[in-house]
C-alpha cells in the first residue's frame, strides 16, 4: 500500500518534472542506447554482452582524418562529446556539456537506420540546466559530416567549423543557451593503444581519440542575462559496436586539466569485483602515455543524494606512475542529467599533488 | 291467496367431495305465501345462509326443487337465475350490500332500473321514510353501518320484488339501530305484500315474524 502510493507519487513527480515519461524506456531500448547507460536495465545490458552480428567491429590501426571525424554508421554506437570548464568575468566558474550520440537501429550502416540524440547542459555553482533532443537519421534533422568542413548537428544545436580544430558550439533549452568558439591549441590525442581503447579484461574495446586542448570564449545565456566566458574544452570521439562486458554495471570517468598544462583521462568500469581501470597521461605537448588496468585508482570519498540516488561527488584519484594523488570535488553536486538515460555529469575542481579543473561523468547509478 | 311465492322441496347441498364432503342441507322443505314473513333460525353452520343463497339463486342446489313465483329456480342456468334475481327477488345481506361507485340515490334506484320497474316517486318516498333524504348524494363509504343497511333495504323494496331475502340484516348493527331497521323493513314488507324470508340467530327477532323455521343438521325441525 505504502509502496504503491510512493510509486504513484514518484510517477507524478516525474511527469511534473523535466523527465519525459517512463514510457520512453521502450524507445531507449529501441535506440540501442542502453549500453551507454551502463546497467540501467539488465535486459538491455544482457544484450550488450552478446556480439550482435552485422555490425562492424573495431580493430587497432591508424585513424583516417578528417573522415574519422564524421560518422561511422557501420558501428553500433558513436559520440561527439564536449565538456568545457569556463570562467566568467567576475571569476564565477561554469561548466558546459554538448554531446551528440549516434546509435544504429539495425546493422548495415544505412542513414535512415540511425538514431541521433543530443544532450546539452550548463552548470553554474548552484544551478544545472539540461536539454535533450532526438532525431531520425537520413532526414537532415541530425548528422555529422567530417569531409570538407566539420559539422555535427541536431536541430539548431551545432558543433561546426572550418575543421575540427576551429568550431562554434551552439545549444539551447527552454531556460538557457550558449554560443562558444572553440580553437584547438594542441594536437589530437589518441587514447589507449593508438586509439584502440580496451574496456574489459575480455577484450571489449572502442576507437577513441580526444582533442583536450581547446581554448574557449563565448557567451552563456542564463535566465538573468548573458555572461561572457573564457576557458578550456575537451572533445572525446569514440565509436564501437560492443563496448561493455556482461558484468559491467557502469563507469566513472574523468577528464582533468592540470594547471601545469598536462591532462589526464581516466575511467573505472565497475563490475562485481575491483573494476577495470584505464588512463591516459597527456603531456602539455600532447604526447599521450596510456596506462592499463590497475594503474589508476579512483576511490569515492563522499556521496551526495541526488535524484533518489547516492552518487559519489568527491573522489581520490591516484596514478602513482605519474605521482598523481589528487582529490576532485564536484563544483555543483546536483549536476544530474535527468535524460532518457539518466547519469551524472559536471565540472570538478582538483586539489592535492596537482591543481586544476576538469569534468566527472558517472553512469549506471540506478 | 293462491300459489306460494316460495316453495322449497327436498333441497340438498353438499360442499366439497369425497372424504372431505360435508353435507349442509339434507332435504329441506319450505313454503312462503305473499305478504307472509318467515324467520329461519339455527345454530352457526346449520346451513341457514346456504339455504338463503340457494333460494336467491346465488348458488345452485345439488338436489330438490326451489320454485319462486311459479318459476323453477333449480331448472335455470346462471343467466336465468340472474334474471330471476333481478326481477323477482331482493336480497339484503349483513353488510357490504352497496355498490361503492354509485351514490345513495343511484344505489336505491339501481335494482328497480335493472328490473325495468323504475318508480321515482316510490323510491323517493322510501328514501324519506328510511331517513335517507339528506344522504342521497353521498357515497356508501361516507355512511354509517345503519345508514348503509337502510339504503340496502330501500334499494330492495324500490324494485318491488315478490320475495325479499335477508341474511342477518341487523347482525352488524347495535341493538337500537337493528330494532329500528327491522321495524322499517317489517312495516314496508307488510305494506307492499312482499314475502320475507329472514335468516337470524336471534330468537327475539324471530319472534317478531309471522312464522319460524328452525334448521338443525340440515333439516327443518320446527
Amino acid at each position: 500500500m505504502n509502496g504503491k502510493r510512493q510509486r504513484s507519487l514518484r510517477r507524478r513527480t516525474l511527469r511534473g518534472g523535466y523527465l519525459p515519461d517512463q514510457r520512453w524506456r521502450g524507445l531507449v531500448l529501441a535506440l540501442g542506447l542502453v549500453f551507454w547507460a551502463g546497467g540501467v536495465l539488465a535486459q538491455g545490458f544482457a544484450g550488450l554482452g552478446a556480439r550482435e552480428d552485422g555490425y562492424a567491429q573495431v580493430a587497432p590501426g591508424a585513424f583516417d582524418f578528417p573522415a574519422d571525424h564524421g560518422a561511422h554508421p557501420g558501428f553500433r554506437i558513436e559520440w561527439w562529446y564536449i565538456t568545457a570548464n569556463l570562467t566568467g568575468e567576475d571569476g564565477t566558474e561554469y561548466g558546459v556539456q554538448w554531446t551528440l550520440f549516434r546509435s544504429a537501429l539495425r546493422p548495415g550502416g544505412m542513414v535512415d537506420q540511425q538514431a541521433w540524440m543530443g544532450h546539452a547542459a550548463l552548470t553554474t555553482p548552484d544551478r544545472h540546466f539540461v536539454a535533450e533532443r532526438l532525431g531520425r537519421g537520413g532526414t537532415g534533422q541530425a548528422g555529422v559530416s567530417g569531409e570538407e568542413v566539420f559539422s555535427a548537428w541536431i536541430d539548431e544545436w551545432a558543433m561546426a567549423g572550418r575543421d575540427i580544430g576551429t568550431v562554434d558550439l551552439v545549444a539551447q533549452g527552454p531556460d538557457f543557451a550558449y554560443e562558444l568558439r572553440l580553437a584547438a591549441e594542441g594536437p589530437l590525442v589518441a587514447q589507449g593503444k593508438a586509439g584502440f581503447s580496451v574496456k574489459s579484461a575480455s577484450g571489449q574495446a572502442s576507437r577513441y581519440y580526444s582533442q583536450p586542448f581547446y581554448g574557449v570564449d563565448g557567451v552563456l545565456t542564463l535566465p538573468e542575462g548573458p555572461v561572457a566566458v573564457t576557458g578550456q574544452a575537451w572533445l572525446d570521439r569514440e565509436w564501437s559496436s560492443q563496448l561493455l562486458d556482461a558484468d559491467q554495471s557502469g563507469w566513472d570517468w574523468v577528464s582533468l586539466h592540470f594547471d601545469s598544462g598536462a591532462k589526464l583521462m581516466g575511467f573505472v568500469l565497475r563490475d562485481g569485483g575491483g573494476g577495470f581501470t584505464s588512463a591516459t597521461w597527456i603531456a602539455p605537448d600532447g604526447t599521450p602515455t596510456p596506462y592499463g588496468d590497475g594503474d589508476l585508482t579512483m576511490t569515492p570519498l563522499e556521496r551526495h543524494r541526488v535524484a533518489e540516488r547516492d552518487v559519489p561527488v568527491v573522489w581520490r584519484v591516484e596514478l602513482p606512475a605519474r605521482a598523481v594523488d589528487v582529490t576532485i570535488t564536484a563544483m555543483n553536486r546536483d549536476a544530474w542529467m535527468p535524460t532518457l538515460v539518466p547519469y551524472w555529469e559536471g565540472p570538478v575542481t582538483i586539489k592535492g599533488s596537482h591543481q586544476g579543473r576538469g569534468y566527472l561523468e558517472m553512469t549506471g547509478y540506478d | 291467496m293462491g300459489l306460494p311465492v316460495l316453495s322449497v322441496e327436498n333441497v340438498t347441498k353438499t360442499w366439497g367431495s369425497g372424504a372431505e364432503a360435508h353435507t349442509v342441507l339434507r332435504g329441506v322443505d319450505l313454503s312462503l305465501k305473499a305478504g307472509a314473513s318467515l324467520a329461519l333460525t339455527g345454530e352457526s353452520g346449520s346451513g341457514k345462509s346456504t339455504l338463503l343463497h340457494l333460494i336467491a339463486g346465488l348458488d345452485h342446489a345439488d338436489g330438490g326443487q326451489i320454485t319462486i313465483d311459479g318459476q323453477r329456480m333449480t331448472a335455470l342456468d346462471d343467466a336465468g337465475r340472474a334474471a330471476l334475481r333481478r326481477s323477482t327477488v331482493g336480497v339484503v345481506f349483513q353488510q357490504f350490500n352497496l355498490i361503492p361507485s354509485l351514490n345513495v340515490f343511484d344505489n336505491i334506484a339501481f335494482q328497480a332500473r335493472l328490473a325495468g320497474r323504475a318508480d321515482a316517486p316510490w323510491a323517493a318516498s322510501l328514501a324519506r321514510r328510511l331517513g335517507l333524504e339528506d344522504h342521497l348524494r353521498k357515497f356508501p363509504e361516507q355512511l354509517s353501518g345503519g345508514q348503509q343497511q337502510r339504503v340496502a333495504i330501500a334499494r330492495t323494496l324500490a324494485a318491488r320484488p315478490r320475495l325479499v331475502l335477508a341474511d342477518e340484516p341487523t347482525g352488524n348493527l347495535d341493538e337500537d339501530t337493528g330494532e329500528r331497521v327491522l321495524d322499517l323493513m317489517l312495516g314496508l314488507v307488510g305494506e307492499t305484500g312482499t314475502a320475507l324470508l329472514m335468516v337470524t340467530h336471534s330468537p327475539r327477532l324471530a319472534a317478531r315474524l309471522d312464522a319460524r323455521a328452525h334448521l338443525e343438521r340440515g333439516r327443518i325441525t320446527g
Binding site: G26, L105, G135, A177 | D78
Partner: protein, 801 residues
C-alpha cells in the same frame, strides 16, 4: 421484536409473489433501459475521447498550410533546424478489406510518447516499430476486424482509439501514398529560448491555436442526447410501475403496520425496516436490470456504431466493454428511482395514525385536491414548454421543452379521463351503463399511473414513428434528385482519368466531373465540390433557397451554393459571403444535404480547378440512357480496363444510402418497442392487481342480478375503453412530439429541417396494438371473473375485507 416485525412485513410478499414480481420486473426494466442507453453512450464517448486524444490528452497548437493541405518533410526539418520544437504527423484514412482505417503516422523521435495512449507508448514502441517495415499499433477490437487485411503487421494494444492505427512516419506515408509529405506539425511544450518568427523560417505555413479535439463529441452530442432522452423516458415509464406497486403494497399492509405500531414497534424502526426492505429490493432489481441493460446495449451497439459511422464518420467499435462506473451508476439509479417511487408511501407510514380505520382505503376515490394539484402542475409544465419553445434555443432547451410537454400530457391524462367518465355517467340511461362509467371512474386512480405510462409510450411511438417516416419520405425523394447520374466511376490516377474522359466521348449523354477537396469552412472541417454546368443539376438539385440566375452565375464563378447544415450553422444564406482560400464569394443558394455531417460548398467546376489546382480529378458521374447502362459498364471494364469496384450504379448507391438511413433509426425504433412493451406490462400488472380488489365492487352488482359472464365482458370492455381513450389522447401529443423532433431537434442536432407528414394508417395499427395489449391484459382477470365460483363472491358479504 424487529425480527418478528420483519417477518410480518415480508410475509406480504410471500402471499403475493406476483406483486413482488411486478415490482422487481418494473424496476429491472426501468434500470435496464436506462443503463443500457448509458452503456452505449459511455462506449461511444470513450471512443471519441480516445480518438480525440490520439495525439495527446491535451490539444496542442499545430502548424499547417493555410488550407491544411499536406506539406513537405523539408519544412519540418527547416523548422527543427531553426529551433522550433515540432513533431510531424501524417494522417489519413485508407480502405481495407476490414473497413476504413484511420492512419496516424508519428515520429517517435520528436513526439513525446506520453502523447500516445498508455498501451501504445509502452512496450509496443521497440526498435522494430521504426522504419519502413514497422507495424501498425491498433486496438484489439480493431485488430480483430482487420484480420486478413493486407496491411503491415498489427500490434494490438488496449487504449488505442477504435479504427485507428499508429505507425512510424515512413510506414504511414507509404500506406497513405504521401511519401515525403506530412499533414501537420505538432508544436511541443517547452520551446527553447530563441526561435525566429515562423514567417521567417517557413513562409506559407500558419500556426493554429490548440483545437479542442472533441469535434466528434460535439457533433454527436445530439445523437447521444437523443438516446439519453429515450433512456430517461423508459426509466420514467418503468418508475410508474414501481410507484404503483409500492403504493399498493404499502396500502395493503396498512393493517399490519397498524398492528405492529400498536404492539409497540416505534415508527422510526418501522420506517427503517421498510427502507431496508426497499433497499434490498432496489439492489436486487437494479443488478438484474443492469444485466438486462448489458444485453440490450450489446444487441444495439452494432447498429449504433453503424449509425455513428454513417452519419458522423465517428468510429466506435461494435462491442461493449464493462465499466465499474456503469454498474455503480445503474445501481444508484435503481435505488434512487425506488426512493422516488416510495417517498409518498413512506411519508404516509411515518404519519400513520395509530387508530386509523382498519379498512384500507386502497384506490379510494381520488380526492378533488389531488386532481386539482395535478391539473395545476400540467398547466404549469405546458406553459413552461411553450415558454422554452419561444425563448429557449439549443438542444438542451429543446429537450427540456419536450420533457415538460410529455409530463404535462401525462399529468393531464387522468383529468381528461375523469371528464369523459363523468360525461358518460351523466349521459347514460341504462343503469348498468351508468354503473359502468361510475365504476370505471372509480378505478382510475389505480390505473392512472399505468395509463400515463401508456400515454408516454404511445406518444413517443407516434412521435418517433412520424419523424422516421417523414424523414424517409423526404430522404428517398431527395436521393432521387441528388443521385441523378446513372453511373459513377472513379479513376485510379489523373492520367487514367484523362484517358477515361477521352474513352467516354460519344458513349454517354454527359460526363459530369465530381471533384472535391477538403477545406475548413466556417472554422470546421468541410468540403468543396465542383459541378459542371449541366441540366442534370439545373433540373434536379434539391434547393431550399435560391437567387435568380443561380446556375448561370455559379457556372460563371460569381458565387457558390452551400448545404443546409452549413447555412444553418454559420448563417450563410443568400446575401451572405463564404470565406474560402483567397476568395470570398456570395451565397447564391442553399441545398438540402441529408446525412452529411460536414459543411459543403458547391462551386463551378472551372472555379474549383482554377483556385484549387491540386484537386484530385478522379470521379465522374455518367448520364446514360437506361438501356445502355449495363453495356457501358461492360465496356468500361473490358475495353477500358477500369476495375469493377470503381464503377457504382445509381441503384447501388441508393440502396446503400437507404441502408445507412434504416440503421440510423434502428436504435430509436428498438427503444420505442421496448418502451411500449414496458407500458404494456404496466397495464397488465395494474389490471391484475386491481382484479384482486374488484370483488367488493362486483359482488353487489352480481347479487342484484347481473350474471358473471356479463360482468366479465364489462371488465374487458372497461380496459379497452381506457386504452382507447388513452390512445386518442396520445395522438395529438405524439404529433406535437414529432413536430418538435423535426422542426426543432433535427435542426439543432443535424442541421436540417424536415417537413412533417401524417401517417394515419400507422396510428390505426398502433391503436389496434394498444387495444390488443389492453385486451390481452384484461382478458385473464375477466375470464377469472366469468368462472369464479359463487362461493367466492358470496364471501364478500360474509367476511371483513
Amino acid at each position: 421484536m424487529r425480527r418478528a416485525a420483519l417477518h410480518a412485513l415480508l410475509s406480504h410478499w410471500r402471499r403475493r409473489p406476483f406483486q413482488l414480481l411486478t415490482l422487481v420486473l418494473g424496476l429491472a426494466t426501468a434500470t435496464a433501459l436506462w443503463s443500457g442507453v448509458q452503456a452505449i453512450n459511455a462506449e461511444a464517448r470513450d471512443s471519441y475521447d480516445r480518438a480525440a486524444s490520439a495525439l495527446g490528452p491535451a490539444p496542442r497548437a499545430t502548424i499547417t498550410t493555410p488550407d491544411r493541405t499536406p506539406m513537405d518533410m523539408a519544412q519540418f526539418i527547416a523548422l527543427r533546424r531553426a529551433g522550433w520544437l515540432v513533431s510531424p504527423v501524417v494522417e489519413g484514412t485508407i480502405a481495407t478489406q476490414g473497413g476504413p482505417l484511420r492512419i496516424i503516422g508519428i515520429d517517435p523521435f520528436t513526439l513525446p510518447l506520453a502523447d500516445l495512449p498508455s498501451g501504445a507508448g509502452d512496450d509496443a514502441l521497440t526498435a522494430s516499430f521504426i522504419g519502413d517495415t514497422g507495424p501498425l499499433i491498433v486496438a484489439p477490437e480493431t485488430a480483430a476486424r482487420l484480420a486478413g487485411a493486407v496491411l503491415p503487421p498489427l500490434i494490438a494494444r488496449q487504449g488505442v482509439a477504435p479504427s485507428l492505427a499508429y505507425a512510424d512516419l515512413p510506414v504511414a506515408q507509404a500506406l497513405l501514398e504521401m511519401t515525403g509529405r506530412i499533414s501537420r506539425l505538432v508544436v511541443l511544450d517547452r520551446q527553447p529560448l530563441r526561435r525566429p518568427a515562423l514567417s521567417d523560417v517557413a513562409p506559407g505555413l500558419v500556426l493554429n491555436a490548440p483545437e479542442d479535439g472533441t469535434d466528434m463529441a460535439g457533433l454527436t452530442d445530439s445523437f447521444h442526447l437523443n438516446l439519453t432522452a429515450f433512456g430517461l423516458l423508459s426509466f420514467a415509464v418503468g418508475l410508474f410501475i414501481v410507484r404503483g406497486t409500492i403504493g399498493l403494497a404499502f396500502e395493503q399492509r396498512r393493517p399490519v403496520f397498524r398492528t405492529l405500531r400498536a404492539l409497540g414497534l416505534p415508527a422510526r424502526s418501522l420506517l427503517a425496516l421498510l427502507l431496508g426492505e426497499l433497499l434490498v429490493l432496489a439492489l436486487l432489481s437494479g443488478a438484474l436490470g443492469i444485466a438486462l441493460g448489458y444485453l440490450v446495449a450489446s444487441a444495439l451497439i452494432p447498429d449504433v456504431a453503424a449509425t455513428l459511422r454513417g452519419l458522423y464518420g465517428a468510429s466506435v467499435e461494435g462491442t461493449l466493454s464493462i465499466r465499474p462506473i456503469w454498474w455503480a451508476s445503474g445501481l444508484a439509479i435503481a435505488v434512487l428511482g425506488t426512493g422516488l417511487a416510495a417517498i409518498s408511501s413512506l411519508w404516509q407510514v411515518a404519519r400513520l395514525p395509530l387508530l386509523a380505520p382498519a379498512q384500507p382505503r386502497a384506490w379510494a376515490r381520488a380526492s378533488e385536491s389531488a386532481l386539482a394539484w395535478q391539473g395545476g402542475a400540467a398547466v404549469f409544465l405546458a406553459l413552461l414548454s411553450a415558454a422554452t419553445l419561444t425563448f429557449g434555443s439549443g438542444l438542451i432547451a429543446a429537450f427540456v421543452m419536450l420533457g415538460a410537454l410529455l409530463i404535462a400530457a401525462a399529468l393531464a391524462l387522468p383529468l381528461v379521463l375523469y371528464a369523459v367518465m363523468a360525461l358518460g355517467a351523466r349521459l347514460a340511461r341504462a343503469p348498468l351503463v351508468q354503473w359502468f362509467w361510475a365504476d370505471t371512474r372509480q378505478q382510475l386512480p389505480g390505473l392512472s399511473l399505468a395509463l400515463m405510462a401508456l400515454l408516454l409510450a404511445l406518444a413517443a411511438n407516434i412521435g418517433v414513428g412520424t419523424m422516421v417516416s417523414s424523414f424517409r419520405l423526404t430522404f428517398t425523394g431527395w436521393l432521387d434528385q441528388r443521385l441523378a447520374s446513372e453511373l459513377y466511376v472513379t479513376a485510379e490516377t489523373d492520367a487514367q482519368a484523362r484517358a477515361l474522359q477521352t474513352f467516354l466521348t460519344g458513349k454517354t449523354e454527359a460526363v459530369l466531373p465530381i471533384w472535391h477537396i477538403d477545406a475548413t469552412l466556417a472554422g470546421q472541417p468541410g468540403e468543396i465540390y465542383g459541378v459542371a454546368d449541366h441540366l442534370t443539376y439545373r433540373d434536379n438539385w434539391p434547393l431550399i433557397a435560391r437567387t435568380p440566375d443561380l446556375w448561370d452565375r455559379l457556372a460563371r464563378g460569381e458565387g457558390v451554393l452551400v448545404n443546409e447544415q452549413l447555412a444553418r450553422r454559420a448563417g450563410l444564406w443568400p446575401g451572405a459571403n463564404v470565406a474560402l482560400r483567397d476568395w470570398n464569394p456570395p451565397v447564391l443558394g442553399v441545398y438540402s444535404d441529408y446525412g452529411n455531417p460536414l459543411g459543403q460548398v458547391l462551386v463551378g467546376i472551372d472555379s474549383l480547378v482554377a483556385r484549387y489546382p491540386e484537386v484530385e480529378r478522379l470521379q465522374f458521374g455518367l448520364r446514360v440512357a437506361p438501356g445502355q447502362i449495363d453495356g457501358l459498364r461492360d465496356a468500361l471494364i473490358a475495353d477500358f480496363g477500369l476495375p469493377a469496384d470503381r464503377i457504382v450504379d445509381q441503384t447501388s448507391i441508393k440502396a446503400f444510402s437507404l441502408g445507412v438511413f434504416e440503421r440510423t433509426f434502428t436504435v430509436s425504433r428498438a427503444l420505442n418497442v421496448l418502451t411500449l412493451s414496458v407500458a404494456g406490462f404496466a397495464i397488465l400488472t395494474s389490471l391484475l392487481t386491481l382484479a384482486a380488489m374488484r370483488l367488493p365492487q362486483l359482488a353487489p352488482v352480481w347479487a342484484l342480478g347481473v350474471a358473471r359472464r356479463r360482468l366479465a365482458r364489462l371488465e374487458l370492455l372497461r380496459a379497452l375503453v381506457l386504452a382507447g381513450l388513452t390512445f386518442v389522447c396520445a395522438v395529438p401529443v405524439g404529433l406535437l412530439l414529432a413536430w418538435v423532433l423535426l422542426a426543432v431537434i433535427n435542426v439543432e442536432a443535424f442541421g436540417w429541417r424536415l417537413p412533417l407528414f401524417l401517417f394515419p394508417r400507422d396510428w390505426l395499427w398502433l391503436g389496434l396494438l394498444s387495444l390488443l395489449a389492453a385486451g390481452a391484459a384484461a382478458l385473464f382477470p375477466a375470464v377469472r371473473i366469468a368462472r369464479m365460483p359463487p362461493a367466492r363472491l358470496l364471501q364478500v358479504f360474509a367476511h371483513e375485507r
